[in-house]
């Protein structure tokens, strides 16, 4: 049996992030902790952010979930760490559009590995898995903006 269709979802780089998550853990100096879950399946993420001078100085995550949700969280932290909040939000918006199969130009922004998640758009049942960490990011920085 061929799993070629599945391979567009489970790219090697995704499985690598799943197996070896980047920025996993807690931040001692986090000024923001966001917890998000997907009530339909139980996936959960706790995002720790250290934001100063309009920049995401540091970010870590903890959580439980499937390969897509955990890999996406790992890739997200990698992509936004050290970035300006406005750039992080641009990447997040790019990511949302990628999930519905839209092509977007992001200029010179470094997207790290997140484009590997493009295949998720072909698996509608899994899109929520991939977007969980990004929703947590947006909730966190938007909240930070208000305070």
């Amino acid at each position: 049996m061929s799993f070629s269709n599945l391979d567009t979802l489970y790219r090697q780089v995704i499985m690598d992030h799943y197996k070896h998550p980047r920025n996993r853990g807690v931040l001692d100096n986090s000024d923001l902790i966001v917890e998000m879950n997907n009530p339909s399946c139980g996936d959960r993420i706790m995002l720790h952010l250290h934001v100063a001078d309009g920049e995401i100085k540091d970010v870590k995550f903890e959580g439980e979930g499937c390969s897509i949700s955990m890999a996406s969280a790992s890739m997200m932290t990698q992509a936004v760490k050290g970035k300006k909040v406005s750039d992080a939000l641009s990447i997040s918006s790019y990511f949302s559009k990628m999930m519905i199969g839209e092509e977007v130009d992001v200029g010179n922004l470094d997207l790290a590995d997140i484009q590997a998640l493009q295949g998720v758009s072909k698996f509608p049942a899994r899109i929520r898995c991939a977007t969980l960490a990004w929703e947590a990011l947006e909730k966190g920085v938007n909240h930070n903006d208000k305070s």
Binding site: F3, L6, K19, C41, G42, E64, C66, S67, C129
Partner: protein, 406 residues
Amino acid sequence: MDVRSVREQFPILHQQVNGHDLVYLDSTATSQKPLPVLEAVDEYYRKHNSNVHRGVHTLGTRATDLYEGAREKVRAHINAKSTAEIIFTRGTTASLNLVAQSYARQNLKEGDEIVITPMEHHSNIIPWQQAAKFTGATLTYLPLQEDGTISLEDVKQTITTNTKIVAITHVSNVLGTINPIKEIAKIAHEHGAVIVVDGAQAAPHSQIDVQDLDCDFYAFSGHKMCAPTGIGVLYGKQELLENMEPIEFGGEMIDFVYSHDATWKDLPWKFEGGTPIIAGAIGLGAAIDFLNEIGMEQIEAYENKLISYALERLSEIEGLTIYGPKERAALITFNLDSIHPHDVSTVLDSQGIAIRAGHHCAQPLMKWLDVVATARASFYLYNTKEEVDRLVDGLIKTKEYFRHVI
């Protein structure tokens, strides 16, 4: 029971999904619908559609006869004493909410106890949490045995004279545990409590006799027993229902309406405000006829054989953890090594196999099992041994696919 001819009645099963013959193993979430049900609903809309209990025209009479005829079929099917005891609802959730919002709020006070179990579906937890908050009553959980069963000794210890309501599932949608309702009802009654049974996973698979069980309320859904979505049943003992206030007010449920007050219709209509789920009820009646033509005992016996075979085959898979007791209904909840159930489900889906992955609307039970989520394969009268084999092959391939990450 001849499964081949049963399958012929389910057109949806004869299709390819992702290039493979569909294997539908998610009937615990919702069952598929046989031709007689599809035809009954279709015929109702084509020939008889009209509102019920009003108007004196011919279609109105036909629709009313069909709707009330379905109620009689439900009554006979679960051996209720009277159709006054059969209330049509949107489903099990609505039925349980009706008891919690009407009976519980009217009868509970501070110091009273509601006893439930950790194996309940959210729909048999949250209505009681809310009723407890509203009335000041306490919500108490029965403990579970290590294998996911309930011991009658614990039931006797937990239920006290303060217990006013015992709410329990007949069959667990995760563990497959079949609870001894009759015995628990007896203990509840000895302490002056009523017993509310969530029958969503029991009614589709076995003969329910509410008088023999001596339960006070029994709730179930049509869509899990071959009927359309949006129709369910609340059975209640007449003397209890008589004293309960409706929770939905409006058309259909009233007797006289004055400027500042109104009176209610008799049972069961006082609980059916608004235009009822006419087509759904007719579909449920057709589903009951369909199941009875095959025979609930035959269905149960067939499923028992199938689940024994499935348990035996799945146990062969190394790294597969099965949750729940040996003696069980026709479902298997499991985890495969450290592969997340979502990933298991996606790989199986790519092979045309539909299972459920997640927390199955039972978060407290997931906590008890100490897992975040699980996968679940569930079976019904149309599933076959060959489909069990397809599941086993699919799981072995899933393991192979994820071998680098587990």
